[in-house]
Amino acid sequence: MTDKTTSSNKSFLNDAGNRALIFQVVLLALVVFVGYYLFSNLQANLADQGISTGFGFLNQPAGFPVLIHLIEYTEADTYGRAFIVALINTVVISLMGIVLATVIGVVMGLARLSNNWLVARLATVYVETLRNIPLLLQMFFWYFAVLATLPHPKNSIIFADFFLNKRGIYSPNPIFQDGFGIVIAGFILSIIASIALIVWAKKRQTRTGLWFPAYWSSLGVIVVITFLALVVSGFPIEFDLPQKSRFNVTGGMVLPPEFVAVLVALSTYTGAFIAEIVRAGILSVNWGQTEAARSLGLKDSLTQRLIVLPQALRVIIPPLTSQFLNLAKNSSLGAAIAYPELVAVVMGTTLNQTGQAIENIGLCMLVYGTLSLTISMFMNWYNKKMSLMER
């Protein structure tokens, strides 16, 4: 500070630095006090009512079933495992939702820019309808109104070994036999081969200028090699086929309507927002860029790939990540239509059986907090990387 401070007591409160200090100390004290006050009330309340605390319950048997579990789970497993199951369900629906929403969003965003008037109008109607109706309503709509109109299992719509009815979409479930290792090896081999192919093609282009259609041919390589491996090992897959049983279709793999409704609602809803982001991103690339590329003789497909997309992406990615984040958070609405995700299992059933609101809600908030933090860290990293490219 100033080396000659006029130190009069009267001016202590007028000193800008002191004021800031005092204000902050008061604020901190207030926060600490309120925190302490709430905490002590909580403790008193919990003790008064004999509510148990701590995370011990996670090791106790849960006793309730969970409709969708991607890892082994039975009623005899613990609450902790039920939590993991729910966490996986949340992550799975979020990831699938993100992929689908992106596809829908890109398609719709491009459709809105289409020079086909009708297509552009239809896409606009889609976007403006979906994003102005609450997501929860849309989930209810899909679950209670649309999927409920499918036929009863007795009258399933059958297509080959696929069944479609109110209870879900049933498909054959592949069961891998002993020789399947060969197939996996073949598959991995083919991926390595196709990567090599792409690298080679890039190198060759650098060297000779000639481009080899490496992406398409590597797809071919993967299919062919994998198929050969299948033949060599004698098709070591058996299918568990879905079959009609007394009540349901049993066996096979099933996508329950709860899952479908949540996934469809999440991805179409978020897709509408993404469409707008994509559209804005592409429009943000100056038309002059396209003209310049054209005047260099680049074909339209190359112009898009090399000029427009890389620039549009920079504008698109940041808002896109926050849409992904919204989608992940919105997956919690699945609780309302019986999709066993985090909120349903932890803040619903577990909380109810154990009565430990604090721990369970805390657990949920922690998971979502971590998820958000991860995604926004990615976003910051990406932004930094991109801005390096500019300057």
Partner: protein, 242 residues
């Protein structure tokens, strides 16, 4: 080399180009001038099909300009263009800007493309900036890069659409110098510009357009000293006073 036969073009109801008849020989250097909105850019952009004409025919380098994609591609390979606002690709380095078309359109090996790019960069006196991004250069430097980018296609014709009008006065000279040098090397050029000094120095013919027509086309000294039309006279008096 370039031939306009009775070319007409409309934007909606608006008649922008009216009966353009004109031909440009190999090695000729044409300067196009005229008041704003007279259709100079439009005419120039018809040459590499950035705009489509509705009537008449345009023949570039023996190829007729029509909806045939192959023809358009072939012509664009032969025609380089420099825009008023440079339109460099901001996400690519200068070098990448220059090698993009040679690699993807001419299928040139990268190495060779880069060598050529460096050659042209040197020609526009900016080789030391090769690894920077366009955003890091001044306007004049950017425009010179844009010219080099056009040259990298090794085109037989270069089009310039007001290449200096977005630049500060100091930078105009840098760019004009490069263009003069190009002209002296015998490149066929069509240049929309109001730099009358440039026109006098290098143009073989000056074309004056108004309201979508070619009003007058003449050798520079005739054009400036002895304009035929009153419209041309009026325009020149304005331009030269300015």
């Amino acid at each position: 080399m370039i031939e306009f036969n009775d070319v007409n073009k409309w934007y909606g109801d608006f008649h922008v180009l009216k009966n353009i008849n004109f031909s440009i020989k190999k090695g000729e250097r044409i300067v196009v001038c005229g008041p704003s909105g007279s259709g100079k850019s439009t005419m120039t952009r018809c040459i590499n099909r950035l705009e489509e004409h509705q009537k008449g025919e345009i023949i570039v380098d023996g190829i007729e300009m029509n909806n045939n994609l192959k023809n358009i591609e072939a012509i664009r390979k032969d025609v380089g263009m420099v825009f008023q606002h440079f339109n460099l690709f901001p996400h690519l380095t200068i070098l990448e800007n220059l090698t993009l078309a040679p690699i993807w359109v001419r299928k040139m090996p990268k190495k060779q493309a880069e060598e050529m790019a460096m050659h042209y960069l040197e020609r526009v006196k900016i080789a030391n900036q090769a690894l920077k991004y366009p955003g890091q250069l001044s306007g004049g430097q950017q425009q010179r890069v844009a010219i080099a980018r056009g040259l990298c296609m090794q085109p037989r014709i270069m089009l310039f659409d007001e290449p200096t009008s977005a630049l500060d006065p100091e930078m105009i000279k840098e760019v004009l110098d490069v263009m003069v040098q190009l002209a002296e090397e015998g490149m066929t050029m069509v240049c929309v510009t109001h730099e009358m000094g440039f026109a006098k120095t290098v143009a073989d013919r000056v074309v004056f357009m108004d309201a979508g027509e070619i009003v007058e086309a003449n050798e520079p000294h005739e054009f400036f000293d002895n304009p035929q039309h009153d419209r041309t006279q009026m325009f020149l008096s304005q331009i030269l006073n300015h």
